[in-house]
Amino acid sequence: MTTGQATAETPVTQDTYALSGRDRAFGLIQRHGATAVLVLLLVVGSLSFSRFPTGENLGDIAITSSFPAMVALGMTFVIITGGIDLSVGSVFALGGVLAAYAVRWGTVAGLLVPLLVCGAIGLVQGLLIARVRLAPFIVTLAGLLGARGLLLSISHEGATTYLIPHGSVLARLGQGHLFGLGYPVYLTLALFVVGGVVLQRTGFGQAVYAIGGAEDAAALMGVPVARTKIVVYVLSGMLAGLSGTLNAARLSSGVTILGTGMELDVIAAVVIGGTLLTGGAGSVSGTIAGVLLLGVIQNLINQIGDLSSSYQQVVSGAFLAVVVVAQTYLSRARRL
C-alpha cells in the first residue's frame, strides 16, 4: 500500500484513500465471483457425474455458450454505459434468417447483409437513445418488436425457412471443428479478447466507462457521449447479428423461432458476471464467466436427468437469486 505515510508536505489527509487487504479480497471476489462459482460448479459436476467432464460434453457447453456469449459481449458494453438492449433476442434471430436468405448471393453477402441490417437497427436505436434521448428500455423494447416483425415479413410470416447449403463456406464456418472445439468458440474467444482490450486500453473503452459512471461529467470532460452511445448500440446489434449468422451457419438454416427470451438470459449472464446494471463498472471476463455459468447450470440440471422441466426454471431462478444476493453483500462489504 502506497498510502499512509502522511508527511507535512502532503496537504491532503490520506487515511481515507487506503483499501485494506480485506477490502481488496472482497473486491476480487465481487469481480471474479462468477468465475469462482463456475470453477466450483465444474469441480462439483465432475465429481458427481462421470459423463460431465468429458471433452465432448465440455465442447458442447462451449459451442452452445458461444452464441449467447457474443450477444452478451455487446450487452456488456451497453450496460456499462448505463443502458440496456432488449432487442438482442429478435436481432439474433433476424441475423440468422438474413444470413440464410442472403447466402444465395454468396458467402460474403451471407456474412455482410445480417451485419449491416442488424448494425442499422442498432444505429436507429442508438440515435433515438443518444440524440432524441428516449429511454433505452423502451427504444429497445420497440426494437424487439420491430426486428421480429421484419424477420416475419422476410420469412413470409415464418412459413419459409431459408437454408444454408451444405458444405458452403458459411456452413463450414459454423460447423467446423479445431481440436474438438467449434470455430465459433474460437471466434467468440477472439472477440472477447478484442472486446477486453477495447474496453481497457482504448479511448472508446474509457468513454464507455465514463458515460456509465457519470454522463454529465463525461460530457464536460470532452467525451463524445452521443457518438459513444450510438457506437455501443450499433456494436450490440452487430454482435447479435453476427451471433445469429454463425448460429444459422451451424444449424444450416435460418430458423425463425429462435431468440425469444434470449435478452433476459443474456442480461442475467452479464449481471452475474459482475457488471452493474447502473453502469460504470463491469468487465468482459466476468461476462464470459456469467454465460458459461448459466450454460453449466443448464447442463448439470440435464445431467441430473429426470427433473421436471418446470423445476429447471425454479432452480435457475433460485440460483440467480443466490448469486445476486451474494454479490450484493460482497460489494457492499467492500464499500464499507
Binding site: P11, T13, R201
Partner: protein
C-alpha cells in the same frame, strides 16, 4: 454603467480570449444581455455575481456548451465558434466545474488523463506510463494517492485537485475555475493559489468564479460583475473596495451592506438548561473514534476540523444514518434507537446534508412536496394526508424563510441553490425538531442567500433549538457558533468557547495536533 477597462500590467498583450456582446436567450428569457469580457494572457479575472446573474451561462457560452444568439467568442483574435466543450478544450479553453466534473467510479489516473492517455503501438493505452504520469502530475499539486484507486475513494478536496490538475495539464490557454475552493481546506487553498500563480507565470489566463471575497482580492487582477444577465461593472479589482463589490453584486446600497456586516450572525446566544442533545462515545470503524458532544437549547455548537476529520460523519451518526460500532445518542434524556434515521427524526433530530443535490432535494417534486416530506406522518391521519394542513404549513414557511419561487407548485429543481437550501430548512422546521444539524449550510449559495440562511440559523437558535454547525468557512464557524468542537481523525481534539474562540485559535488547534502527529 460600465467603467472603462483600466490599464493592466500586461495590457500590452493582445487579449487571448474575448467575448463580444454576447446575447443568450432561453425560451424567450434573456439570460445574457450584450455581455463582453476580455482576458489577457496571465490575467486572473474574477467573475462574480449572485446565482442567476448569468455567470454559468457565460461560462457555458465561452466553452461552447451553448451557442450565443448574438455576439461571438474570439480566441487569440479569431472567432472561436466552439461546437462543444471538447472543441473548446482542444483549443485550450478548460473549465473546472464545481460539482460535476469527474467520474467517481473510474480510477484517479484514468480521470486525470481521460481522452489523452499515453499510447503504445496500435494506439492502445499504456497503463503503466499512465499511472506514472498521473502520480507525477498529482504530486506537483500536493496530492499523493494511489492513482489506481477509484476517484470516489478520495476526499472531496483531493477530487477537486484532480479536476484542476486535469484541466491545467493540457495545453491550456484559458482556465475557468467555478468555485474551486468551495470544498478545499485552507492548506489546499494555498496549494491552489500556488498553482494559479504558476499559471499566471506561464501566461495562462484564468477566469475565477467565487463568492469568497478574501480569495478574490488575493489573486485576481480584473473583475467582471454580472447582475441579471448584464455587466454592471468591469475593471481592476484593486480599484474596487469590498463593500462596493458586494453592493454591486447584490444591487444594494453600500450603507445597507455595511449595517448588516459581513456575516449575518448576531453573536452569542443565551444557551440555557439541560443539554437537549447528548452524543456519547460515537465510534465507527475508520471514521469515528469515541466522539462525544452535548448541545443545549439555544446553543450553536460548531464542528471544526479538516476535511475527513469526521465532521460530516459525526452529524450523520447523530442522525442515525451512519452505522455505529459503539456509542449512542439521547435527545432530552431519552435514548434514540441506533442506526435508524426514522427514529432520529421522530426524536427531533434534523440533518441538513452537505450535498444538497444528492442528499437533500427531491428534484422531481414541487417546492410544496419537498417541504412537507419529512413532516408527512404528522400531517396525515390514518395515512391519508390533509392537503389543507400541508398548504398551511408550506405557506407559513415559504413566507417565513422568504423562499423565492413562482408558487408552492414550482418544481424545486428550478430554484436557485440558496432557495433550495431554504426549502430544506423549511422541510425540517415543519417537523418542529429539537436538534438541527447543519452541514455546510451556506456552501455554494450566493451572498444574499448566504446572509439570509445565517440569519435564519440565528433565529432558530433563539427560538430554542440546539444547533450543530459544520462549516469550512472559518469566519462563519467562529462568528456563528457559541462553542466550537475541533475534530481530527475522527476524534475530538479540542473545544473553544467565549473569548478563546477565534479563527486563529481554531486553526491553531487543528494545526497543533497535526504537527504533533507528524513529529
Amino acid at each position: 454603467m460600465t467603467d472603462p477597462v483600466p490599464e493592466q500590467r500586461n495590457a500590452g498583450d493582445p487579449p487571448v480570449l474575448e467575448a463580444r456582446d454576447i446575447v443568450k436567450r432561453f425560451t424567450g428569457v434573456l439570460a445574457l444581455d450584450r455581455v463582453s469580457l476580455s482576458l489577457r494572457p496571465g490575467e486572473v479575472h474574477a467573475l462574480v455575481g449572485e446565482n442567476g446573474a448569468g455567470k454559468s451561462t457565460l461560462i457555458k457560452v465561452i466553452t461552447g456548451v451553448h451557442r450565443p444568439d448574438e455576439g461571438e467568442v474570439r480566441l487569440a483574435g479569431r472567432p472561436a465558434g466552439f461546437t462543444g466543450p471538447l472543441d473548446a478544450q482542444r483549443a485550450g479553453v478548460q473549465a473546472v466545474h464545481q460539482e460535476i466534473g469527474l467520474v467517481p467510479d473510474l480510477s484517479v489516473a484514468r480521470n486525470l488523463l481521460l481522452g489523452r492517455e499515453p499510447r503504445r503501438a496500435l494506439g492502445l493505452i499504456d497503463t503503466r506510463r499512465m499511472h506514472q504520469e498521473a502520480a507525477r502530475t498529482l504530486e506537483s499539486y500536493g496530492v499523493r494517492v494511489d492513482v489506481r484507486l477509484p476517484l470516489r475513494s478520495l476526499g472531496v478536496g483531493a477530487q477537486q485537485m484532480v479536476a484542476l490538475a486535469r484541466a491545467v495539464s493540457v495545453d491550456a490557454r484559458v482556465v475557468i475555475m467555478d468555485e474551486p475552493t468551495s470544498s478545499l481546506e485552507p492548506r489546499e487553498v494555498e496549494t491552489l493559489f500556488g498553482v494559479i500563480d504558476r499559471l499566471r507565470g506561464q501566461g495562462i489566463a484564468v477566469i475565477y468564479v467565487s463568492h469568497r471575497l478574501d480569495e478574490l482580492y488575493r489573486i485576481c487582477d480584473g473583475v467582471t460583475v454580472l447582475r441579471d444577465g448584464r455587466v454592471v461593472h468591469q475593471g481592476a479589482l484593486a480599484d474596487l473596495d469590498r463593500l462596493r463589490l458586494v453592493s454591486l453584486m447584490l444591487g444594494r446600497d453600500v450603507a445597507q451592506v455595511r449595517a448588516e456586516g459581513v456575516t449575518r450572525f448576531s453573536g452569542a446566544h443565551e444557551a440555557a438548561g439541560e443539554p437537549v442533545l447528548e452524543a456519547r462515545g460515537l465510534s465507527s470503524r475508520h471514521l469515528l473514534d469515541d466522539v462525544s458532544l452535548t448541545i443545549r437549547p439555544r446553543e450553536v455548537v460548531g464542528l471544526g476540523g479538516l476535511l475527513g476529520a469526521g465532521r460530516t460523519e459525526t452529524a450523520k451518526a447523530i442522525a442515525g444514518v451512519l452505522p455505529l460500532d459503539a456509542g449512542g445518542v439521547t435527545v432530552a434524556g431519552l435514548p434514540v434507537r441506533r442506526g435508524s434515521a426514522t427514529a432520529a427524526v421522530r426524536a427531533g433530530i434534523a440533518l441538513l446534508p452537505e450535498d444538497r443535490k444528492a442528499e437533500g432535494i427531491v428534484p422531481t417534486l414541487s417546492v410544496r412536496d419537498n417541504i412537507a416530506l419529512a413532516a408527512l406522518p404528522r400531517l396525515a391521519r390514518a395515512g391519508v394526508v390533509s392537503d389543507a394542513r400541508i398548504d398551511r404549513i408550506v405557506e407559513t414557511f415559504m413566507r417565513r424563510l422568504r423562499i423565492k419561487a413562482t408558487g408552492p407548485h414550482q418544481p424545486v429543481a428550478e430554484l436557485s441553490g440558496g432557495n433550495q437550501q431554504k426549502v430544506l430548512l423549511a422541510r425540517w422546521m415543519a417537523t418542529e425538531p429539537k436538534v438541527l444539524l447543519l452541514d455546510e449550510p451556506t456552501r455554494g449559495i450566493d451572498v444574499g442567500a448566504k446572509a439570509e440562511v445565517q440569519a435564519l440559523v440565528d433565529e432558530l437558535a433563539e427560538d430554542g433549538l440546539a444547533v450543530l454547525l459544520i462549516s469550512s468557512d472559518l469566519e462563519e464557524l467562529v462568528e456563528g457558533s457559541d462553542r466550537v468542537v475541533v475534530l481530527r481523525n475522527g476524534a475530538v481534539v479540542g473545544e473553544l468557547t467565549g473569548d478563546e474562540l477565534t479563527e486563529e485559535a481554531v486553526m491553531t488547534t487543528i494545526a497543533a495536533h497535526t504537527r504533533e502527529e507528524v513529529a
